[in-house]
């Protein structure tokens, strides 16, 4: 059985506000019975003060789904709609004294139900999560690209396991794992591009080809990488440098170094090696650039 915290157990066995509010003026629905969990959140909001005076949940799901729903209602009652809108899934997790990693999506479901209820209160038509944002990635749980990339960005996810835990995508037949990795890579790559565009970091992360050959940092990084490559090559992989700055090293892993487990392990190792050789801690990320037309 799961190692649930005492608070999770308490909120499961004695759920707070497990009810449908008859006089609700905001309703949020997320999930579905075929996916294994669903939550309907009903709120009674005071129209003058915008205070959430009461909240009720109805949940179909496992112990932690019910406990997360219960915690959600306790967290938002007494807050204004604007205050409640700031609630994160992590606050639900913290309130419950932690959730097993595999059950993180229960807290996400709570936070999403709140978002939906607030949108309903404000009369906003929420973009339906019914795979209308980009490609449908996970067929088992009907999770689209938009939802995954938002989760990756918002929570700083880096692995398939993270994505499964937060969105369920990829948690069943596993056939979409490659597509999920591509979404993760894309989000991370966009972040890199954004930081290139940031004026506070001029020239810091230019593509290596356009870096002045005299850049001491790049030379140093290339030299270190040259010493590390044989280890990866010995295992059937390889690595090349994409970009280097004082804040970030972007490499491109290939061969046996890739794949969801290996990428993490290899990057972790490279990060250790670089940080040691450079004498300061520096993050290393993987990005496979798209083929560039010949200059």
């Amino acid at each position: 059985m799961w190692n649930y915290s005492e608070t999770v157990k308490d909120h499961f066995f004695n759920p707070r506000n497990a009810k449908a509010l008859e006089d609700a003026n905001a309703v949020g629905d997320v999930g579905s019975i075929s996916c294994g969990d669903a939550l309907r959140l009903t709120l009674k909001v005071n129209d003058e003060t915008e205070m959430i005076e009461d909240a009720g949940f109805q949940t179909f799901g496992c112990g932690s789904a019910i406990a997360s729903s219960s915690a959600l209602t306790e967290l938002i009652i007494g807050k204004t709609v604007t205050e409640a809108a700031l609630l994160t899934n992590q606050e639900i997790v913290d309130y419950l004294g932690g959730l097993p990693a595999e059950k993180m999506h229960c807290s996400v479901m709570g936070q999403e139900a709140l978002e939906a209820a607030i949108a309903n209160y404000r009369g906003i038509e929420l973009v339906d999560d019914d795979h209308e944002e980009g490609k449908l990635i996970c067929r088992c749980f009907a999770v689209d690209e938009g939802k995954i990339s938002r989760a990756v960005e918002k929570h700083g996810l880096t692995t398939i396991e993270d994505v499964i835990n937060y969105t369920k995508a990829g948690g069943a037949c596993t056939s979409c794992h490659e597509k999920i990795e591509m979404v993760i890579d894309e989000v991370i790559a966009n972040k890199v591009t954004e930081s290139v565009a940031t004026p506070t970091e001029p020239a810091a992360v230019k593509p290596i080809s356009s870096l002045p050959p005299t850049s001491p940092l790049t030379q140093k990084v290339l030299e270190i990488l040259g010493n590390l490559r044989p280890y990866l090559q010995a295992d059937g992989g390889d690595v090349s440098l994409v970009k280097a700055s004082e804040h970030l090293i972007v490499v491109s892993l290939s061969g046996a170094c890739t794949g969801c487990m290996m990428t993490d392990m290899t990057l972790g190792w490279l990060q250790e090696q670089f940080s040691e050789a450079l004498g300061f801690a520096i993050p290393v990320i993987n990005h496979v650039p798209e083929a560039q037309p010949a200059a």
């Binding site: 009810k19 629905d29 019975i33 949940f57 789904a65 499964i164 948690g171």
Partner: protein, 400 residues
């Protein structure tokens, strides 16, 4: 006082006190290695011989030497599959089903990656196979048929004797994972065409860490583990003598209690099932109710989720299990429930109650008395349930 009712006997069982008693001296005085020439070894060797006979009797095997002791049924199944492939190097096809135990499923999946062709027989909504489909797949390219005798989740029995006969007419090797039937139904394996049969100790009140593989005399065989003459060279490794002796004692007890299974245990199972079904609406039995092992009841509760049910049962001191996704850490309902196309309103809410000869009528009555309130409580705050009835589910579900 909190009860202590164990209804998860398809997962594992309590060790028979007589088995415990039988194994104890092998930890203290008779600790010798049966391969040794001295008397420490001899006295253990004699005990293993008795145990092998006891287990062979339970299976209805003609020769003691047809029983190979292994570490578990997963090892037995793996050994049987790889043995069949090695003795049939030119044959690249395996016939199995979609509802096997992972020991078979995952091994076959790996073999598929290595280039073997795996035919997986489907089941219908009652968990039954289509023998016409099976007959059409048997061919001179088939290296092995490996099919479970009874399903671990539903208890549904497959017509293994008929299937073995059909395989033998095509000279195809036949293995069955009999983990859920050995000790539950009378077996006469010598009168069947089954070539290999895997079984486990801890499902029949022997300790964990001991399993067995029956290999019919004359069936070509290659060992998985090499490096010793133990088990007549068919499974190397020093014998787990305490567990083997306990296995023998447990097998003897299981054989003596076969009528308890088909009598008392079946009656209790039926009472449990009827007691729940008659009190709780929107529930049904999964699998083939008329054709299953006597100890298993798998009940689907619509509009509630299995892990939540198990947690509440556990509060009442009742241990059961679920095919629900959430209990296993995966996100999908069990492959067995999916293969049977259980309706989505119930696929996450299946609960398996598996009894044993130690289950009492008082236990069953208690379970019957608490299940309705558990389901009521959970349906009480399910968004799909209102005033004792399910809501129109289509209103919630996006069109498929």
């Amino acid at each position: 006082m909190k009860k202590n009712i164990y209804l998860d006997n398809n997962a594992t069982t309590k060790v028979d006190p007589m088995a415990v008693e039988a194994m104890m001296p092998l930890f203290t005085k008779q600790f010798g290695n049966p391969s040794s020439i001295h008397s420490f070894g001899d006295q253990v060797g004699a005990k293993l011989k008795v145990a092998r006979r006891q287990v062979a009797d339970l299976l209805g095997a003609l020769h003691d030497s047809e029983v190979i002791f292994t570490s578990c049924a997963t090892e037995s199944t793996t050994t049987a599959i790889y043995s069949a492939l090695k003795v049939n190097p030119g044959k690249k096809e395996i016939i199995t089903t979609t509802v096997e135990h992972p020991a078979t499923l995952d091994t076959c999946e790996q073999l598929e990656r290595e280039g073997y062709i795996i035919h997986r027989l489907k089941v219908n909504k009652k968990g039954q196979l289509d023998l016409k489909e099976y007959a059409g797949l048997l061919s001179e390219n088939t290296a092995l048929v490996t099919v479970m005798w009874a399903n671990n989740e539903t208890g549904t029995l497959f017509p293994i004797e008929d299937m073995a006969l059909m395989a033998s007419e095509k000279s195809v090797l036949f293995h069955t994972d009999a983990v859920q039937v050995v000790g539950k139904i009378p077996l006469d394996i010598q009168d069947t065409e089954i070539d290999m049969l895997s079984f486990s100790g801890h499902k029949l009140h022997a300790p964990k860490g001991i399993g067995g593989l029956y290999v019919r005399r004359g069936v070509r065989y290659r060992p998985l583990l090499r490096g010793g003459h133990q088990e007549r060279g068919r499974r190397a490794g020093t014998e787990n003598s305490p567990a083997i002796v306990a296995f023998g004692a447990a097998a003897e007890q299981a054989e003596l209690h076969l009528e308890t299974m088909s009598g008392k245990v079946k009656a209790l199972r039926d009472k449990l099932e009827q007691g729940i079904l008659s009190q709780v609406s929107h529930t049904f039995v999964t699998g083939d109710p008329d054709n299953r092992v006597a100890n298993t009841a798998n009940i689907a509760f619509e509009y509630v989720e299995g892990e939540a049910i198990l947690m509440l049962l556990n509060q009442f001191g009742i241990a059961a299990s679920s095919g629900s996704a959430c209990t296993s850490g995966s996100l999908e309902p069990s492959h067995v429930m999916q293969a049977m196309q259980i309706p989505f309103t119930a696929a996450h809410g299946t609960i398996r109650f598996s009894l044993s000869r130690y289950t009492t009528e008082k236990d069953v009555d208690y379970v019957i008395s608490v299940v309705p309130e558990i389901i009521d409580k959970l349906r009480g705050f399910s968004p799909y349930w209102k005033d004792g009835k399910p809501l129109d589910i289509e209103a919630f579900e996006p069109a498929a």
